[in-house]
Amino acid sequence: MPGVLTVYRWELRKLRAQKRTYLGLGAAAAVPIIFVVALVSGGGRPNDVAFGRYVHDTGLAVPLVLLLFGSIWLFPLITALVAGDIVASEDRNGTLKMILTRSVERHQIFAGKALAAITYAVLAIVIAGGVALGAGILASGFNPVTTLSGTVVSAPKGLGLVGASLLVYLLPILAIACVGLLLSTVFRNSGAAIVGTLMFSLLVQLVGILPGLSGLHPYLLSTQFNAWQGLLRTPADWAPILRSIWVCALYGLPALAAAAIVFLRRDVAES
């Protein structure tokens, strides 16, 4: 019998057939290339961000700088592009009634869609990280990287740390994907859900820079975009990573549960 895997496979096929899919993934690939081209042609370096001063010394620093810049709006937007659209587009096309009257249960359809939205977000980060790494190595070489503690780690170990950093970076991205899914399910309108998800991400960042709210900072989603920096210390600081796991779960899981409940219980009437 068909199940979650069938729905998931078809969600991926539907994504492959839509232009917006390539818009997001194209941006994920283009931004690091533009960044590296600017570095090479301009010769400057973003000294005021972590690892910015090393971008001409090692290509391994490039994806790390990109993670810092990308957290403001690029990766939340790319994530929202699909997460905010994946249910709402069914309302727009009127296709929800079609898929809900076949032989898969609603919870299976929801699970397949959630998995597809998460896959897309992961793919965007992998592409951005991979392209940044490739372009960075081409421009600055595959050289040892200096950690935030000032110690120098070999290039192969640095590569492993970059990979692990991307994994940790995925935690807040997945939480944003869950928020996008919720808004997509509730609003039934792709534009509103995508913009709403991005607005949510920006608002959390705004709270992070408001004076007098520093006590909240460790628990803001925006702060979790920096948790990976714990890996780039000697010895590794696991505290921000562990906190990121539960803080992101605190944002993501209720949103995901609420989206599932709305999806399972909603009337599929006129869009």
């Binding site: 019998m1 068909p2 069938t6 729905v7 496979r9 078809w10 096929r13 539907k14 057939a17 839509q18 096309n93 009127g94 296709t95 009634k97 079609m98 898929i99 809900l100 009257t101 076949r102 032989s103 898969v104 249960e105 609603r106 219980r265 009337d267 599929v268 009437a269 006129e270």
Partner: protein
Amino acid sequence: MAEAPPIEVRGLVKRYGEITAVDEVDLTVNAGDVFGYLGPNGAGKTTSLRMMLGLIRPTAGSVRLFGRDPQLSVSALRGVAGFVEAPSFYPYLSGRANLELCAALDGAGDKQIDEVLETVELRDRAKDKVKGYSHGMKQRLGIASALLRNPRLLLLDEPATGLDPAGMRDMRELVRDLGRRGITVLLSSHQMMEVEELCNRVAIIRSGRVAYEGSLAELRSRSGISYRLRTSDDERAKDVCLSQPGIDDVAEAPSIGLTFTAADESAVAGLSIALAQSDIPVLELTPRQATLEDLFFELTEGDGPRAPAGDAKVIEKVA
């Protein structure tokens, strides 16, 4: 044990706040029926169908498809297919890819796709994206996607709406053919001709309530035969009609003359004698069988027909 009927609806209610879209609907569709679900726009037909397919939750009442509750699990739709409103597809996928998706979600292979595309005459356009399809082609693709499920029961919501005359004819032929194949069909429509042509039983719904459920033949027999009368002096003829026993519902009809209903043929014979005795020459006196359209308007706009005979039931007069 006898199998449960394809559709059994009892006390079905759907309210949206203060608005009652479907109000205590009872309905039974038997195996082999091509059942017309008739009503004006906004009467509650589509909402009923959505509840039958498990797309929306009833406020009260129950739906059983072959004895199974579609609200509990999609497995209740085994052997059931159809669409509500216009069938919808992914515009960026081809017609064939849309059908492949449907087949995948049904756990079926792709073997049948060519066959159903052939049935709805879309094989030549199967590789084109659905966004380039006409309304009629989408309707036919909707039927194709329903046929993929090898249904024993088809629920079709106004399948001919928006089609040109040729498309309507083809769609009717298709539904007729499905009926001949033994598929039970519930055909929601507001087109009288379509229902009259295709259906053996009907339910007429008005303001969310079933005003009539039964066979077309019973509905017609109940309404009786009306007559039209044209004379050289319709004004005097009307007075004669009004005074004649067994002649009712006398009315003037522009360009026709007079219309009336008669209790039986002897009352009509008595009227013709009375007209002759009053020196009123009769130019035309012809019986006129009520069409489904007449009955539809009588039920949905008037006070409803007289008490039924047989199994058919006029549910109530709707205020």
